[in-house]
């Protein structure tokens, strides 16, 4: 592995440059600290540091309620991810089919689900489907749209993986007398999966973000529960800050995991 670019760029500084870097570093640190102090002062002068806005975070009930919301988020995200992985495979098989009658509708469905905002799909499940007599629970009103729009993206990720598998693998498997289905499910797809695991895990981050829309359908996930707490204590800033931090931590964890898995295996 070669050196990172910035190390080459600033690798052997002259004594003056080194001194300059130190001075600028100190100035930058001072400015950033001042900025942070300014934010704290702003919080204080707006009264947002008052104990009444923060004391309920010392109560276990608050955290239990937030944890319940986080569980709701994760339950919806996990189900959406499972559906997306399975339905994405269906879309992929349709996308790769020889029969035009199967392939073109699959392409259309993928482009449609990929090209419309998840929020719009949620509104359809929430506002439009009841009009035609389909009633879903709030859990499914959130989970299904997220799952379907993710499935279309997952199908494209799968396809990239399948295309990356060397052609010789398919030819060899065919010449051994395997059927098309056997070639795909025993030879090509398992190898494709290895290429795309990092991309799939990264997709999980987007699923978790999308479940934030749960409050639109009043499903009890993290954002919705945060709104309930806010309604009780009128503490907008602290609660939203804590919730944002929770989301960041969960997603950062997933991203880190995907980077770790993404390291080459050999």
């Amino acid at each position: 592995m070669s050196r990172p670019l910035e190390d080459i760029l600033f690798g052997n500084p002259s004594p003056q440059a080194l001194a300059l870097t130190r001075v600028v570093s100190v100035i930058a640190a001072a400015v950033l600290l001042l900025l942070a102090a300014g934010i704290v002062v702003r919080f204080h002068s707006a009264g947002q540091l008052d104990a009444r806005f923060w004391e309920f975070f010392t109560w276990p009930t608050t955290w239990a309620f937030l944890a319940k919301g986080l569980l709701g988020t994760l339950a919806s995200a996990a189900m959406a991810a499972v559906i997306a992985l399975a339905f994405g495979l269906v879309l992929l098989v349709g996308r790769l089919a020889r029969l035009r009658l199967v392939r073109w509708p699959s392409i259309a469905l993928i482009e449609f689900l990929r090209g419309t905002p998840t929020l719009l799909l949620i509104y359809v499940c929430f506002l439009v489907l009841p009009q035609v007599g389909i009633k879903l629970s709030t859990y499914w009103m959130l989970t299904l749209p997220v799952a379907f729009s993710t499935a279309a993206v997952v199908a494209e990720v799968y396809r990239a993986g399948v295309l990356a598998v060397p052609r010789g693998q398919t030819d060899a498997a065919r010449s051994l007398g395997l059927t098309e289905a056997q070639v795909f499910f025993h030879i090509v797809f398992p190898q494709a999966l290895r290429y795309i695991v990092p991309a799939l895990v990264a997709q999980l981050v987007i699923v978790v973000k999308d479940t934030t829309f749960g409050y639109v359908v009043t499903y009890g996930e993290l954002m919705q529960n945060a709104k309930v707490i806010i309604a009780n204590y009128h503490a907008l800033v602290p609660v939203y800050l804590v919730v944002a931090a929770l989301y960041c931590l969960v997603n950062y964890g997933i991203s880190r995991a995907s980077k770790r898995i993404g390291r080459p295996m050999h």
Partner: protein
């Protein structure tokens, strides 16, 4: 079909305006987001540990926070800190911040594609580091990130739908659909029209991105 034509007769101009607003929000958050992201990516190269630390924090926060959570914070929580931002600038600010974080991240990957030998060569020619960045590293890095930036632009265009979460004076596509679905029984037709507009916009961006990519890509 007749439902769609009746809907377009009633709401045709509204759909046109909604589409234009969606485009406007997309452009107005992508351009500053892209520029800000480029600046962040370049500043992260400098050997200034405090700056690097803060910018890494910045990128990780805005990459991982759900855009809605950020928008709701800006619209509903910031007024408690005596920071009042109007609805439309709030949406644009949210999308700009998120876009800049992703841009900085993608550009970092693009910068990594530039061979170290080129930087060494440029330095040995007597170019200053800043000049090396602007003349050697950035142009190649930018050409390497056309594809991810196209995907980002499409994702950003779809994300403008979160403008429907704040009481906006104008309506973009998703807000218009939810209003029509609330007011009338034409929700399905409205959804079909809006979905078609989103998909076509996305395909146009993808096509433009692919054309640009073909033009500027570096064959190695």
């Amino acid at each position: 079909m007749s439902e769609v034509s009746r809907l377009l007769a009633d709401y045709g101009p509204a759909f046109g305006q909604a589409l234009l607003l969606t485009w406007k929000l997309t452009v107005m958050s992508f351009v500053p987001g892209f520029l800000l992201g480029t600046v962040v990516a370049v500043l992260r190269l400098f050997p200034l540990p405090p700056l690097r630390f803060v910018l890494t924090l910045y990128v990780e926060i805005f990459r991982n926070i759900p855009s809605v959570a950020l928008l709701i914070f800006i619209v509903f929580a910031l007024p408690d800190l005596n920071v009042l931002i109007d609805y439309e600038p709030s949406v644009i600010l949210t999308l700009t911040l998120v876009c800049s974080a992703f841009t900085a991240d993608y550009l970092r990957a693009g910068i990594n594609t530039v061979a170290g030998g080129q930087v060494e060569a440029a330095l040995s020619l007597g170019l200053r580091p800043m000049r090396v960045i602007t003349a050697v590293v950035l142009p190649q890095a930018l050409r390497a990130v056309v594809q991810p930036m196209t995907s980002l632009l499409i994702a950003l265009m779809l994300s403008t739908s979160l403008a429907s979460q704040v009481p906006f004076p104008g309506r973009e596509l998703t807000a218009l659909v939810s209003k029509i679905a609330n007011d009338s029984a034409a929700g399905m037709a409205a959804f079909a029209v809006a979905a078609a507009m989103y998909v076509v916009t996305g395909l146009l961006i993808a096509w433009a991105g692919a054309t640009l990519e073909k033009k500027v890509r570096i064959l190695r």
